[in-house]
Symmetry: C2
Subunit: 260 residues, 2 copies
DNA sequence: TCCTGTCTTTTGGTCCAACAAATAAACAGC
DNA sequence: GCTGTTTATTTGTTGGACCAAAAGACAGGA
């Protein structure tokens, strides 16, 4: 037995979860998902009508509708009057929404998120320096240049996020990127508030440019220092916050920020 | 206007989303969540019955049920026969489930996840070395000892995960911990398959002990090396996998693993 | 008094029928 | 061929019905 076969067997074993659930709605959710899979439906394709689904799977229309509500909550389908349920690409968005709602948006969590970003964005420096091509770094420059478009706070925050997202993308790890994107609403909000306090697009552009230059000259120490300082700067505006949780988070927020 | 007030104003501005949605189901979802908030209900408390909710909010029972299905999908409530909908603490689990669902479980994603873990678990070394107390490290020892209980593959995998989770916890960053926990099903599965190939609880225990000792002696270089090697070892069993995606992911998977 | 088994009532689970609203598709008029 | 109108289909929502499960009331016995 080779290792891959063993792997797949273990995966199959993991697939069975709760045999206890015999709810018709849950069953329908699975059946509809299976239907999508076996018919090879893709984003934009429409599912059968609610009545058809009910007839096909021996269920009442209300039961079908409850199942569709679940799929809709998952971002799998988007249901429009007359058209019916069409396969949606809003799954990631649903995950983000759901995730955001467990992370309360507060000054404390802002500091926490910045601490997370410092860990991640510092940690990927070595990989970027070792593997990024000149074209990759040039593209970072191009993305950074867009921040000078100066189209208001929201737009600047979006550009700022895109730069950091591109940075994380260069780590070439899908899991990391997905996790980072999960925090997009919070991160963008941090940026928005920072820029609302005083418009500093030009400063942001300059710092990003310095970061890119550090990467181009393969200077990992400079990169780590610049990223740390840049992220720390981003939460200056919540400095006044001094309650317990924020303080604890802050100690982690500052981790690894020793000046070279 | 101080910065905190500005922050809160920006948050409020972010709160309004789509005023276009007038669906009765969506309205009910919001109303029920508001009901929970204003009554100060906590985990375990029961909501009014479906019939009562319908009467209170001027909606049919089927509509209420559809709203409850959405809340259930979000892990906000758990509905039990006869009791009704009770507030649940399964929100994180719902997020995990939803997240896992976008990350297909495959050898390629296993390698990717190990790469993610290497970035994270290496990256937090400095903070742990600087801030962890002797008691923290002793607790790591205690957790590590549990892996010798030798209660089968599943149990060993669970203990293994708990050790690494404890490690990440010492980084003292809620966001990082939440993201790491999101990957629990995949990580545990990696461990399970690794241990199924050959039971190596004692080896895992030894390596973990070495890692703890590196932390106790504040040796960041040894820690980084040991963690990297430990995680790389964990995916030996998928070495045969050589398709494109796995190979790309692998290059990131190996990042920062240069021997000191 | 306290335990135990039975019975009633409440409640979620499922389905059906009906109507309203929206809209894609067919159609008539030019 | 284009445009405005009509039609038919489909989702959105509601009320009602019935079933099964379970909590709570209740009666009976140790």
């Amino acid at each position: 037995m080779n290792t891959d076969a063993m792997l797949l067997a273990a995966l199959a074993a993991n697939a069975v979860q709760e045999p206890a659930r015999v709810s018709a709605v849950d069953r329908l959710v699975d059946q509809i998902r299976e239907l999508v899979r076996e018919r090879g439906l893709v984003i934009g394709d429409a599912l059968p009508t609610e009545r058809d689904l009910g007839e096909q799977f021996q269920a009442g229309r209300n039961t079908v509708r409850e199942a569709l509500q679940v799929l809709k909550a998952y971002g799998i389908v988007e249901v429009r009057p007359k058209i019916g349920a069409v396969l949606s690409d809003r799954h990631e968005e649903a995950v983000r929404k759901l995730f955001a709602f467990q992370n309360d948006i507060s000054p404390a969590s802002f500091i926490d998120v910045q601490g997370y970003r410092r860990i991640v964005e510092s940690g990927i420096g070595d990989h970027i320096i070792l593997h990024a091509t000149a074209a990759d770094l040039d593209q970072l420059d191009a993305i950074n240049a867009r921040i000078l478009g100066n189209n208001g706070v929201d737009d600047a925050a979006r550009c700022d996020f895109e730069f950091h997202e591109a940075l994380v993308t260069l780590a070439n790890n899908r899991t990391l990127l997905a996790n980072y994107r999960l925090l997009q609403p919070v991160i963008t909000q941090i940026m928005r508030v920072g820029k609302a306090t005083r418009p500093v697009q030009i400063d942001t552009f300059e710092v990003h440019a310095q970061i890119i230059n550090a990467l181009k000259s393969r200077d990992r120490v400079a990169y780590a220092y610049l990223i740390s300082r840049h992220l720390e700067h981003g939460l200056q505006f919540v400095e006044t916050e001094q309650n317990g949780r924020a303080h604890i988070a802050r100690s982690s927020g500052r981790m690894g920020s020793s000046r070279p």
